[in-house]
């Protein structure tokens, strides 16, 4: 049996390649495609590049349209943001909130997604997915009232709770489609071999779904890192996250474009670095459940 499959795979793989190459269109289409792709990439990257440039300019250079691309770069803006405005604190806050809320959401979400996938609990899944649909403001008013009476507003707990609320539905959604694609036979044979159902989940299914959990975890981290509205209302001066800190930057320094762009880069760069290293996971998370139709 093994011999047969081994001989089949190498033979089947190279075959489709030449056919695809032939299927490509005429020369005019090739040229059009290159031009169109370059345009798409420029459209997506140019604004970010502009922000990067501005973050290295003095405000005098930003106001001088003759110095759009040629100027003497300065790191003054970054020094200003990181040291004088103490952005290191906000970076750590953001990391802490995103990390803890993601970890807790995984602990709650992965078993839930497993049960919902295996027992096809679609109505129960709908309850969790409702959280994606409800406008956040309608929850914030009661939350704010309750949590401020509990003297919790301005603490990390309430931020983590609110970010878990964003992360959990995402994780359940991604993990459900992941468990759906995992064959049931693996667990069944483990149970035949003497494991209990929960034991089979713990020793067989969980280790096999590490990739899925990475996908869900990374995506939930990104969404928590970027979340603005919940932190805007529920964070205090000590627990402020980066997006809120940047928003505050505008109100008292609306003309300091260089500093503002440096602050915007500071919040964007960590998440982009993470994204570049984990591309594969992000793409599979964003497209989870999309192709089942």
């Amino acid at each position: 049996m093994t011999v047969q499959t081994e001989s089949k795979i190498p033979a089947a793989r190279p075959a489709p390649a030449p056919r695809r190459r032939k299927a490509r269109g005429p020369r005019a289409y090739k040229v059009f495609r290159v031009v169109a792709l370059v345009a798409v990439v420029l459209f997506l990257v140019a604004p970010l590049f502009w922000m990067l440039l501005a973050s290295f300019k003095t405000n005098v250079d930003i106001y001088d349209t003759g110095k759009s691309f040629f100027f003497t770069p300065t790191t003054e803006n970054y020094a200003n943001v990181l040291e004088r405005n103490n952005y290191f604190v906000f970076i750590i806050n953001s990391f802490w909130v995103a990390f803890v809320s993601t970890a807790f959401s995984l602990v709650l979400g992965v078993p839930a997604a497993y049960a919902m996938s295996r027992f096809t609990m679609h109505r129960s899944a709908l309850v969790v997915l409702m959280a994606r649909v409800i406008p956040g403001v309608s929850l914030l008013v009661p939350w704010y009232y309750v949590f401020s009476n509990l003297k919790m507003v301005g603490g990390f707990e309430v931020l983590i709770l609110s970010h878990m609320f964003v992360a959990l539905p995402l994780i359940v959604y991604i993990m459900m489609s992941y468990f759906d694609s995992l064959p049931l036979e693996l667990e069944e044979s483990a149970q035949v071999d003497g494991l209990t159902p929960i034991g089979a989940f713990r020793r067989i299914t969980l280790p096999l779904s590490v990739a899925g959990m990475a996908t869900a975890g990374i995506l939930s981290f990104i969404f928590s890192w970027n979340n603005f509205m919940f932190a805007l209302v529920l964070s205090g001066s000590k627990t402020k996250t980066l997006p809120v800190a940047i928003f505050d930057f505008v109100s008292y320094a609306s003309i300091d474009w260089g500093g503002l762009m440096a602050a915007a880069m500071v919040v964007t760069i960590p998440i982009m670095v993470i994204a570049l290293f984990t591309q594969k996971y992000i793409v599979s998370g964003m497209t989870a459940g999309a192709t089942k139709g």
Partner: protein
């Protein structure tokens, strides 16, 4: 395999004595694992949703003004009447929410489909294009809002510099009463078209090639093959993309608040329902009124979703 490696003799171990409390618990846990696994997450979300929603529903029937006047009175449907007859703020906000969502979604789906088709077949440099697609998706919306504020600044912005190069007069962009909403739609398109591309690309690569090949044999050209073969097959995926993106577009907050601030600008030019409700609650403490707005908003979202799911079911058949 199970013959060579028989089940561990669990019965033999407990043969002599009755099962301890630990074994009892384990058996109970295994029997009820369905709810044991699902319940914590459901309770967490339920408590954080059901109770606030009930509260919002209750608040919408009172004249609560938050901490300013703690004791609020029950005033029945008065808030709804006030809101529904408000042609200055509420109805324009409904209109803006609808046009923002509609225009942004239309652009994103059409552009997204074009880009997905460009990326469909393998090519050199694919990796770089994928990186470019990922960047807007993960960029922090508030930072993106700040970035566009600089680019669309009427005096020093790069957008007007570009227009100047081809001889078009400078535009007010975000600061213009008529142009602000369109400019924010542009930002939304920049940030979220990549997500539509990813979803549609996943759909395209999972299509089987036979129908396309058969049509090619029959002499159909690229446009005919797209409109008669690929597009109908892709319809369920397109609806998933619209559904996922539509929900978020209706609720857009970050970029609008980051670029135009409270009340959607001094003339409320980008004030959507979400921004309006946020302002009523947290800038003016009009909790009763904002709750009524939110309940209506929620009904709009559920209605839209329900319609789209119906379409998707129909498309799947």
């Amino acid at each position: 395999m199970s013959v060579l490696n028989p089940p561990r003799s669990a019965p033999a171990r407990s043969a002599g004595r009755p099962p301890g409390p630990r074994a009892n618990f384990s058996a109970w846990a295994n029997r009820h694992r369905k709810w044991l696994f699902a319940a914590p997450a459901m309770i967490f979300v339920g408590v954080l949703i059901v109770f606030p929603l009930a509260w919002t529903l209750f608040l919408s029937l009172t004249d609560s003004q938050g901490s300013v006047r703690a004791a609020s009175e029950f005033i029945g449907l008065q808030n709804y009447i006030t809101v529904l007859s408000d042609v200055d703020r509420f109805w324009p906000a409904v209109g803006r929410t609808m046009s923002f969502t509609g225009v942004a979604l239309a652009c994103e789906v059409v552009l997204g489909m074009c880009i997905a088709l460009l990326l469909w077949r393998p090519f050199r440099g694919e990796k770089w294009v994928r990186v470019a697609i990922l960047l807007p998706l993960v960029a922090t919306p508030v930072a993106v809002g700040m970035m566009w504020r600089l680019i669309f600044d009427p005096n020093i912005g790069f957008a007007n510099q570009l227009l100047g190069l081809i001889g078009i007069p400078a535009q007010p962009w975000l600061s213009g009463q008529d142009t602000a909403l369109g400019t924010t739609i542009f930002m939304d398109v920049w940030q979220w078209t990549p997500m539509v591309v990813l979803i549609l690309l996943a759909g395209l690569t999972s299509l089987s090639e036979e129908p396309d090949e058969a049509a090619r044999m029959d002499g159909a050209n690229a446009f005919q093959r797209f409109f008669y073969i690929t597009l109908p097959l892709m319809l369920p995926t397109v609806i998933v993309a619209i559904l996922l993106r539509g929900i978020d577009a209706l609720k857009t907050f970050d970029i609008l608040y980051a670029t135009k601030g409270k009340g959607g600008g001094s003339f409320h030019e980008v004030e959507t329902l979400n921004v309006y409700a946020y302002g009523l609650s947290f800038d003016y403490n009009q909790y009763g009124l904002s709750s009524a707005v939110l309940i209506l908003f929620f009904m709009i979202i559920i209605g839209t979703m329900w319609l789209l799911t119906m379409r998707k079911k129909a498309a799947n058949k």
